[in-house]
Symmetry: none
Subunit: 216 residues, 4 copies
């Protein structure tokens, strides 16, 4: 749970945050386009309108940039499903969760794929910290599912695994886009995954839902 410490020579928190934003903003496009290793710090400097020296004034290493970028991406993705566990009806909550989650992944699809690919370049501590963010997303799904099970609306044997599976089915939209985009629109994908998830959760809703749309 301990925060990842990133070296900076500045003591002004405000400025540090600003500049780091500037750096990650500049790096984002380059990283997504060319990958972490194929992007040089000089390029990042140029793209973010700073000098190389200044960059190292606010971060300790190139790795730190990668970390900050992914962290920010995960947090953003996560924020879309915050508060969904407050919805009273579990079926509705789950349905909305799938919806929001998939749209969020769609919005940050590049980032999502990127995270899968480049997280290996982070040290253990950083990776652990990012996995924690991931687990916070799972926890939201988990609570919805648990409530549904308690209300006997869902029949899910292992809530934790089910939650993670939902997470991954969202990610799938991003990392298998080379296939999915050829066959489905986001709307269709959401619709279909919703059915799959609800029916796997053993709810009657799944059947009703399946009639209208006709996939492709």
């Amino acid at each position: 749970m301990a925060q990842v410490k990133i070296r900076t020579y500045s003591k002004e928190k405000q400025l540090v945050n600003e500049r780091r934003q500037q750096i990650t903003k500049g790096a984002l496009h380059l990283f997504l386009k060319n990958g972490y290793h194929q992007t040089s710090v000089r390029q990042i400097a140029e793209a973010s309108g700073m000098s190389v020296g200044s960059i190292y004034h606010y971060i300790g290493s190139k790795e730190d940039i990668l970390y900050l970028l992914i962290e920010e991406g995960l947090e953003k993705t996560l924020s879309s499903i915050r508060g969904l566990q407050e919805i009273a009806d579990p079926v509705e909550a789950l349905s909305k969760a799938v919806d929001k989650w998939n749209r969020s992944i769609d919005e940050f699809q590049d980032m999502t794929v990127f995270a899968y690919q480049e997280m290996r370049n982070l040290n253990h501590e950083m990776r652990t910290r990012l996995q924690e963010i991931d687990m916070r997303a799972a926890a939201i799904f988990e609570r919805i599912l648990s409530e549904g099970v308690r209300q006997d609306k869902f029949h899910v044997e292992n809530v934790k695994l089910f939650a993670h599976t939902m997470l991954v089915l969202g990610h799938m939209w991003a990392f298998r886009r080379w296939f999915l985009r050829r066959h489905y629109t986001l709307e269709q994908y959401i619709q279909l995954q919703k059915q799959l998830i609800l029916s796997a959760a053993g709810t009657a809703k799944a059947q009703e839902d399946s009639t209208p749309s006709k996939g492709r």
Copy 2:
């Protein structure tokens, strides 16, 4: 569908294949452990008992090694589920497919994760070629599912997507092992995913299966 052409200065097909095997075998461990970019051709040469010069005699670039390695890995993973579409009973076939697929992923988990992470370093043609292999795996699931739907054993709206989802749920065991291994054994995972898939497929079997085991 066109084959990826890899440069070689040798004309003896037999020898070329042998040497390429030798190269990928040497590279495998290094790539999995340190990643593609962190592995140098010199290291690969050492590990495979060849000289750097010889390596470039049989391949055209470092990228080619990456390609060969992943291709081989995917083929191996795929081969575990070959022939399953021959099974008459779709429910049994699907159940077996999930079983085999997950065990196969488990066996090649490093390779699976690696493929997710490093495929970005391949050029378009190579990536396309590897995706085709992937689709062949999906096709097997697809045929099983289609047959089940035809026999009215499964109620799956979109067979293609369902097949891909099954693929990904297998991969998930590899790329989320940091989480899954802490909570489940492979057996438990297979059991639980089988239930999820069968129940999502709308088969009665799912309910029966769920009663005995109690997850964790």
Copy 3:
């Protein structure tokens, strides 16, 4: 003989001296531990509780800090033997001089070694200025020796060289400590060098001195 001029933007001599003291005090430990080149101005700023900007307010360059530091060190080392030429008996004076000199070197051994190693990084003028300090130490020995020769107590052909040799034999305790400390205590070293010097100076005292102690 001209003083080395060091740039400052301040006109208050008092303050300049104070701040320079502060700087060299902060730099001392770092320079001795990590060397001149391996120490950054930022580190010095931190260690001396000043900002980088302030440092450059009172000195002109990093080189200046090196100069001030060594100058101060040499002056301190020198001050231990000041006034010894006043002693009437040349034999006693010489003996005391060796004693004091070696103890002084021992006290500032890190500084002594450091001066040998890093003086090369100073410009010609600075180096010359520091060599003058060195010669003042030699001059003290020289006067003692000359007086001894005049009184026919010493038989030294070249007084100047002998004086410098005495200086160096003191330094030796510092820059060969990796060897000397393994075999001798400071007391033993002083005792033995005293004998060597007195006997080289052709005094009878040397023989007497050599009998009691048995070195090691």
Copy 4:
């Protein structure tokens, strides 16, 4: 006593030695003129007619170059006094030893000063290894002195320290050349140090020697 291992990608010992010679030869002038830190590997590459890449084919780091250079210098300096302990007459042997040693130092004076200054930039193992070479020189002096003491020609209380002192008095000619060259020729210096050493060694020879020459 263990050899310092220096990385190389070549297995041909002959070639490695040749190229390392080439490197150190190129570095020598630059190091002596500008110092270790002020010399870049790029400069060394140019000076030695190799590419930067090639340099790193034969050494592991810049530090290694420094080590090789100093080692070679010390060995050369040492070789001048090899075999002197074979001389039967200790007085003659010692006299010759001082002579040879000082001339050797004179020949390699830049290297000698350089070694004093830059050895701090080597790691512990390397430094230790170089000190061993130093001790081999001392051992030669030691054996001569011991033999003289056995024959009652010398009266030296601590032979080991005396030997080291002789070493240092030689070095002194190099690192105090800024002073010594102004006042003495090498011949004079040798003459005077010979007297000092012989008289400190308590031999009658010293007195005889002192009469003819008149120093300056």
